[in-house]
């Protein structure tokens, strides 16, 4: 029976996906570099906190940073060696800024830390313990966004009907998921059983774009062998961005994820196939996330996929594939649609790096940006938008700085897929306008919160000053009263004294009078 599929609006069908170049050779491990640079922050959410210090010896798989909050992930040493630095290094990020990193010099021994396999007993573990296992393995979404996986595996009170494995890999040039499905189909299917157990999902759909027939065949074979029930490999039409989470869910189920909701709210959880493979390795072999598969393609002599330790510098990979990093016009991390140009050659591979795309100036499909011309209001962007937004309206408002209006036009539903940008005949950098507008809105929100804090603190200060003034006044009053009392007490004593004195005087006077009266006038007698 053929499954009914739904097609989302918009999207782009490219003439050439450039996937053949990098799928000709089997995947091999990249050579061990002299230095591994591991940023503490490699995913959405908060970065980790370093557990090691310079000089520490670490074993392969040993945790070197711990998660600090719910949406955060630990980090492990990709190989054995010595920590030489814990501090700021340049990281792969569109800003080109530095961030805290752990730098390890490998000793070449590749000695593992102790590992524990749960291959036999994971089915008896409760979902929470299983989630913890996956959390401790530092696994984040390997498809590109890098959301910590265990968070997605916690459906809360929402019943999960369907687990979708995302093997669409819709962006041109990228083939690492394709190769993984061809070469490690069994691991992915076993991983899907683990996730299904954690979620209590009823069925698993493995979605693969129909331009990857080898991957579809390999996955169908693995499903037949390992999980013939409740698991289905679905071939979806090749149409960028079919691998976008919300687009893929709509394609398979016909259900739309609400604008401010999550897939789990409609009973669906989506995981990338590479993430699923990493979960398999964590549970079956006790291996945390130490390496990943990625595509090196574009302007290199031998485009191919490599298994790369996290922290490996990009330029070594390019050299390994016969490219010249110094001569590149741009090195793009990610694909041509959603990737970003690196600011240096020697930046490290991180958990979310799925592709190193080399632009040596001879790639016709990586021509780079042309001069922007005025918008001719053709509406091609609205036709291409897979989220059914109005890119042109968003552009006008973002350009004019009317960010409230941008929000009214649902700017935050934009997935930055770049379709509008790609079709724009005026070559307007539309996505950058949206990213800029989003940044401005976040900044204003931060400023508003800060202003609120300042207002509260200022009001409290006024209250405090008032209170202190009152307290001082009260104290003064008290002192005055005490003083008055004292003086009045003194006055009393004086009055008493005076009264006594007066009484004494009176008595004295009386006595004197009496003696005078009692004494007969001698003068008369004499």
């Amino acid at each position: 029976m053929k499954r009914e599929l739904f097609s989302f609006t918009g999207g782009i069908r490219f003439d050439d996906y450039h996937k053949r170049e990098s799928t000709r050779q089997a995947v091999v491990a990249a050579p061990l570099p002299a230095r591994l640079v591991l940023p503490l922050h490699q995913h959405i959410g908060e970065g980790g906190e370093a557990l090691v210090q310079p000089g520490d010896k670490v074993l392969k798989g040993q945790p070197i940073a711990r998660a600090v909050s719910y949406v955060s992930a630990p980090l492990h040493a990709p190989t054995s060696g010595t920590v030489v630095k814990v501090g700021d290094e340049k990281v792969p990020h569109p800003s080109g800024l530095s961030a805290p990193c752990i730098v390890i010099e490998p000793d070449g021994e590749d000695t593992w830390a102790p590992r524990q396999s749960h291959a036999r007993d994971y089915a008896e573990m409760n979902p929470s313990a299983l989630r913890n296992l996956i959390r401790e393995a530092g696994i984040v979404g390997l498809g590109g966004a890098g959301f910590p996986s265990y968070v997605k595996l916690n459906p809360g009170h929402n019943p999960v009907e369907t687990l979708i494995l995302n093997g669409a890999e819709c962006e041109p040039f990228i083939t690492c998921d394709d190769m993984l499905m061809r070469q490690r189909a069994d691991e992915i299917v076993k991983g899907s059983l683990i996730i299904r157990h954690a979620l209590g999902a009823r069925q698993t759909l493995i979605a693969i774009e129909d331009n990857k027939p080898e991957a579809i065949a390999a996955m169908r074979g693995a499903v037949q062998r390992l999980a013939p029930e409740h698991t289905e490999v679905v071939s979806v039409p090749t149409l960028y961005p079919a691998g976008g989470e919300k687009q893929l869910i709509y394609t398979l189920t016909g259900k739309e994820v609400p604008s401010d909701g999550l897939p789990v709210h409609i009973g669906v959880v989506c995981q990338n196939v590479a993430t699923t493979g990493a979960i398999f390795r964590a549970v079956y072999h006790g291996e945390p996330l130490l390496s990943r598969w990625l595509t090196v393609t574009g302007g290199v002599a031998e485009p191919r996929n490599l298994e790369v330790l996290l922290g490996t510098p990009v330029d070594e990979l390019i050299r390994f594939c016969g490219g010249k990093p110094e001569r590149c016009r741009r090195i793009i991390m990610g694909g041509p649609m959603m990737g970003f140009a690196l600011h240096a050659h020697d930046l490290p591979v991180i958990k979310t790096t799925n592709c190193i795309l080399v632009d040596d100036g001879r790639q016709p499909d990586l021509a780079g940006r042309q001069y922007a011309m005025p918008c001719i209001r053709c509406g091609a962007c609205a036709d291409a938008c897979p989220v059914r937004l109005l890119p042109q309206q968003l552009y006008w408002y973002a350009q004019a700085g009317e960010f409230d209006r941008c929000q009214e036009y649902h700017l935050f539903d934009c997935i930055e897929c770049g379709c509008c940008d790609y079709v724009c005949p005026a070559h307007l950098p539309l996505v950058q306008y949206y990213r800029y507008a989003k940044g401005e809105i976040w900044k204003r929100e931060r400023e508003r919160q800060q202003a609120e804090l300042a207002r509260e603190r200022h009001e409290f200060r006024l209250f405090r000053l008032e209170r202190e003034k009152k307290e001082r006044a009260a104290k003064r009053q008290q002192k005055k009263a005490a003083l008055a009392k004292e003086t009045s007490a003194q006055g009393d004593a004086q009055a008493k004294q005076a009264a006594i004195q007066a009484a004494l005087e009176r008595v004295k006077a009386k006595k004197a009078r009496q003696t005078r009266e009692n004494t007969p006038p001698e003068q008369g007698d004499s």
């Binding site: 800024l97 990213r435 800029y436 609120e452 603190r457 200022h458 409290f460 200060r461």
Partner: protein, 184 residues
């Protein structure tokens, strides 16, 4: 006659109702000043000529002050105020200062003599310290009002721009293309 009676009774009833509502749902304070205060940046710097943001908001509400006297808020605040009050936005009055990027105070701890004068000047209590002890600014709570600068007897407070880290970095606006410039 009946009509007059009915209307008269209605008038009395509604009058009582309104009178009751006026007492029952009485709004404390001036809601307009409150709303203006919400827009102001709460720097509490006094550059507008009023001792803090709320007094300035009250002054705007009674029409005593103009909307363009707040340099820290800059253009965005003026626009928001103009929007709220239904008047035309106007450029910032330069007499009160110019719009600058946000900076925070930092005390040079080598030079600080612990006189507490800056602590007394800070409108948001963002400086900690005690007499003859070194003082320091809580960067997160500093509004950048510069009120601590004049009282410092040893000039040990500098205004430094905020460092952008990756968490606070944002995409810049696209550079205007030469093709988009209006032709002269």
């Amino acid at each position: 006659m009946n009509a007059i009676l009915v209307l008269g009774i209605l008038a009395v009833v509604f009058g009582l109702l309104l009178g009751f509502a006026a007492v029952r749902f009485r709004v404390e304070g001036d809601p307009l000043a409150e709303r203006i205060n919400q827009i102001l940046p709460q720097t509490q710097c006094g550059q507008c000529g009023y001792p803090g943001c709320r007094p300035y908001a009250e002054a705007i509400a009674i029409g005593e002050a103009d909307i363009n006297q707040c340099p820290p808020g800059g253009e965005a605040t003026i626009e928001a105020l103009a929007d709220l009050l239904g008047v035309e936005p106007k450029p910032l009055n330069e007499e009160h200062g110019v719009e600058k990027e946000k900076r925070v105070a930092r005390i040079n701890e080598e030079l600080c003599i612990g006189c507490t004068l800056c602590i007394q000047a800070c409108p948001v209590d963002a400086i900690v310290g005690a007499a003859k002890q070194m003082h320091t600014v809580i960067e997160k709570e500093c509004t950048g009002c510069e009120l601590c600068l004049p009282p410092c007897p040893v000039d040990c407070i500098d205004m430094v721009p905020l460092q952008t880290d990756i968490a606070h970095w944002q995409w810049p606006a696209p550079e205007p293309s030469p093709a988009l410039e209006p032709r002269s």
